[in-house]
Chain length 504, copies 2
């Protein structure tokens, strides 16, 4: 037993305890906290965050990390943990308390301004604080340093190692390949999907969703589902990973796919090694990889025919009235309707990426300083016209629709698309490597897939980088072709662009 | 603005933030946490507790407190805050980390041993760790210091200022006055109360309980009720004060009086001044005063005829079947049945105090070293025979029934009786000072009482000691005669010992 390494572990566990405690307070805030609790709660979370920052930059931690960096007796996993922790330590040290406080204050202001601006459809209310926030984030890029584009410094916080240059190429592919593909689909006769908006009893939806989570392998002994206004997954350690959902009586899709999506995130967190609590080897790799786990279940599994061949009859038994006359096939078609739309969170799995492309282009330009905040509504609307072919009627439904920027999150959006693209790449390998995977799914047996993901992804924690993991699983770096081939296969079949050998 | 005082406030707010955060984690543990979360949760709470201890004993806090002690410009409230904080600081400093860790480990062991011993009705499994725990608590008394009895040092942690000598006199009164009184009641014909154990639908009970809380003035915008295996009240600051209850389908009393009891605790916490968050002036005085607030609502209000004259018809509307043929009067009689029983938590409001008397006598003797842990079952059973006239069939229902000792809580039990006695004393003044109080209660108007308690108790925080508050409200120190006269009046009327002028 290396005593320095043990000391390092103790420090990281302590840090994780404080961070997870703040996460519990956050979860409670989103689920059960009574409204008047908000003020003190914000202060409590801020105090814990401050203490976590102190722990993550303590001289003691710095010394032991420097010492361990020279320790040749460490295992490869231990070395990678130390390397990762040292990177985090150095990054944290770059932030002065004054900067952190200025940023935190600015975010509070921007968030409030955004809420008002969105409610009143008045971008001007938000513009000044957003401008300040963009300024601070640009300052932060300089503080952190970068070699290529300043935006790299922000991307790295969500997707370590991601580069603006690579994303630019990736989104050029999205643009060149997906735009025409979607235009082709839009020209086809549309599927009937109005029945998804009939009346669906809330309690029954809830019960059905719980069943889907169980079927996926979500461990309710190490988690639970609650309601919140925006669905999310949160972890207080791999033995307590919670999901939330929302249930709309007139929109069946909302609950079903938030359950599957959050369930995918939660399986990842539940699958991280509990023995590595607090260490990089016990953490997820990046938001992109995290999102790959939710999207793989949500789309590659949860919007496929095999999944609903098994589950649709169960769903129909819950809602015999509203689903009268429907079949697994008609349901499969309805849930894969492609229709350019205004709001990112409600977008189908193809046009979704145009929403991200637009945000990526805007963020990159804002951070490099080639566009100005005041021009955002016009830029936004132009891009929606260009990529999605739609007019944006109000800023509330346009540039003000997302919460992210008001939280200072620039560089976060691209991870959503990365998640889908990684998911397609990983899933193509799962189909190759798991015998009869689609047949098993048709029988409602999701265990082979879950086991495969445990083996390939979850158990490694952050041992590999996103790129390393991707190569490990698929033999190559992230490649957009997997997503396109997944999309082509599915939509060709759905819209019968081509003659088919397999029957649905 | 005194800048030292502001610094002191900041330090205390920070400490409160960490303590309240640990309390949120505890609340979650008792209400929603999935089972596998237990291990990491215990560790997270322990880390936060350790950090709170560090903050409460920091050199910076010590220095500023010493400085403020000499500051003549402070207001009386500020002076009292500083004095109280200095006392806490000095007490905290007496604990070495080694001692705290030894105690914490010993409690973990004792708690696990107690659970096994209770489940298997085998005191011997628990005795060794209880013996160690008693030893540590005796050590603690020496560490903390005392002038009279060593048990004073423990009492002071729950009921600051309480002395073993005073409690001995008080419980001698309980013994001499209450024993005979209860014997007299036991000789009377018993009330019919079997109907309280008919079937009561859980959801309906829940809804009725929520109504009772609202009626009391509990603010659901600053709190909520959840289920837990043992009802409790918890506060994360006065703007987020939560209660829990448990609901038994075959025991109506459990839910009703846990709602009213916890509601009483919660009104106190919600009534503490939010502007004094983290400071003594924003805290409750003692467990005895806290309990006075719960018992006043539970018994002096919630077991009185006036309260049920208004609420019984509502209750009956919820449960027309199970309450068929009952009246407010028969209900009032049923809920005031006096019947010596084995289990403290299910005891009526009179014999309850014998349970406490027994525990007080045992704790005092254990701490002074005049009895030994191994003899506890025999001593326990003898005392139950002597004071309550009943045979204890098993240790599980006897000496093993309570969780408290396994948590190391010696000196806690007496605060339950103190609560009832303070409640009777305060309520007698409320009856004098609030015009037509009983009439208002009969009309379901509990606001005058709630307002009186806000004025007399809640708003002061810890400005007064328990004794000072009692004198402030009633003109004298705690006096058992108020409880006896309350009991005599109520039970004489109930059992018609004497002719009555007022009719029920």
């Amino acid at each position: 037993m290396n005593s320095d390494y043990e000391k390092y572990k103790d420090l990281l566990v302590r840090l994780a305890d404080v961070q997870y405690a703040a996460t519990v307070l956050n979860w409670d805030q989103e689920t059960y906290m009574p409204p008047k609790g908000a003020t003190h709660r914000a202060q409590q979370i801020s105090t814990l965050s401050g203490m976590a920052h102190e722990l993550s930059t303590s001289a003691g931690l710095g010394e032991i990390l420097e010492k361990l960096t020279l320790d040749l007796t460490l295992s490869e996993k231990e070395k990678r943990n130390v390397r990762q922790s040292l990177k985090n330590f150095k990054t944290s040290k770059k932030y002065s308390t004054a900067f952190v406080e200025k940023m935190s204050l600015c975010i509070s202001e921007a968030f409030q301004a955004w809420q008002k601006a969105k409610a009143g459809n008045n971008f001007a209310l938000y513009a000044p604080s957003l401008e300040k926030l963009v300024g601070l984030r640009r300052e932060e890029c300089e503080l952190l340093g970068y070699t290529g584009h300043p935006y790299d410094a922000l991307l790295d916080q969500y997707e370590p190692g991601a580069l603006t240059a690579d994303l630019t190429i990736l989104f050029a592919d999205v643009r060149s390949q997906l735009v025409d593909f979607v235009k082709g689909i839009a020209a086809m006769p549309q599927n009937e999907d109005a029945f998804l908006h009939k009346h669906y009893d809330k309690q029954k939806q809830w019960d059905f969703g719980i069943g889907l989570l169980k079927q996926m392998g979500y461990d309710f002994e190490a988690g639970r589902q609650d309601l919140s206004s925006h669905p999310f997954t949160t972890s207080f350690g791999p033995l307590d990973v919670r999901v939330t959902t929302r249930v709309s009586e007139s929109n069946l899709e909302e609950m079903v796919w938030s359950c599957i999506h959050e369930g995918g995130h939660a399986l990842y967190e539940q699958g991280l090694p509990a023995s590595e609590y607090g260490l990089p080897s016990g953490e997820y790799i990046s938001l992109g990889i995290h999102e790959s786990q939710s999207r793989l279940w949500e789309n590659n599994v949860g919007r496929e025919f095999a999944y609903w061949k098994y589950n649709f009859p169960k769903l129909q038994a819950f809602f015999p009235e509203s689903l009268k006359g429907q079949t697994a096939e008609s349901f499969f078609k309805a849930i894969n309707t492609v229709r350019p739309s205004l709001i990112r969170t409600g977008a189908d799995e193809l046009t979704y990426h145009f929403h991200i492309l637009i945000r990526f282009e805007i963020e990159k330009a804002l951070i490099e300083g080639s566009i100005e905040v005041k021009d955002l509504p016009a830029i936004w609307n132009d891009k929606y016209k260009e990529y999605l072919g739609i007019d944006v009627p109000t800023d509330s439904e346009g540039v003000l629709q997302d919460i992210h920027w008001s939280h200072g999150s620039f560089g976060y959006f691209p991870t959503y698309s990365l998640g889908s693209f990684y998911a397609a790449q990983f899933y193509s390998k799962a189909l190759e490597q798991i015998p009869q995977l689609e047949n098993e799914i048709e029988k409602g047996n999701l265990k082979p897939l879950h086991d495969w993901l445990k083996e390939k992804v979850y158990r490694h924690g952050k041992f590999y980088s996103a790129e390393e993991l991707c190569i490990q699983i698929s033999g190559e770096k992230l490649n957009f072709k997997y997503f396109m081939s997944y999309a082509q296969k599915k939509y060709n079949r759905l819209y019968k662009f081509q003659s088919e050998t397999s029957s649905v």
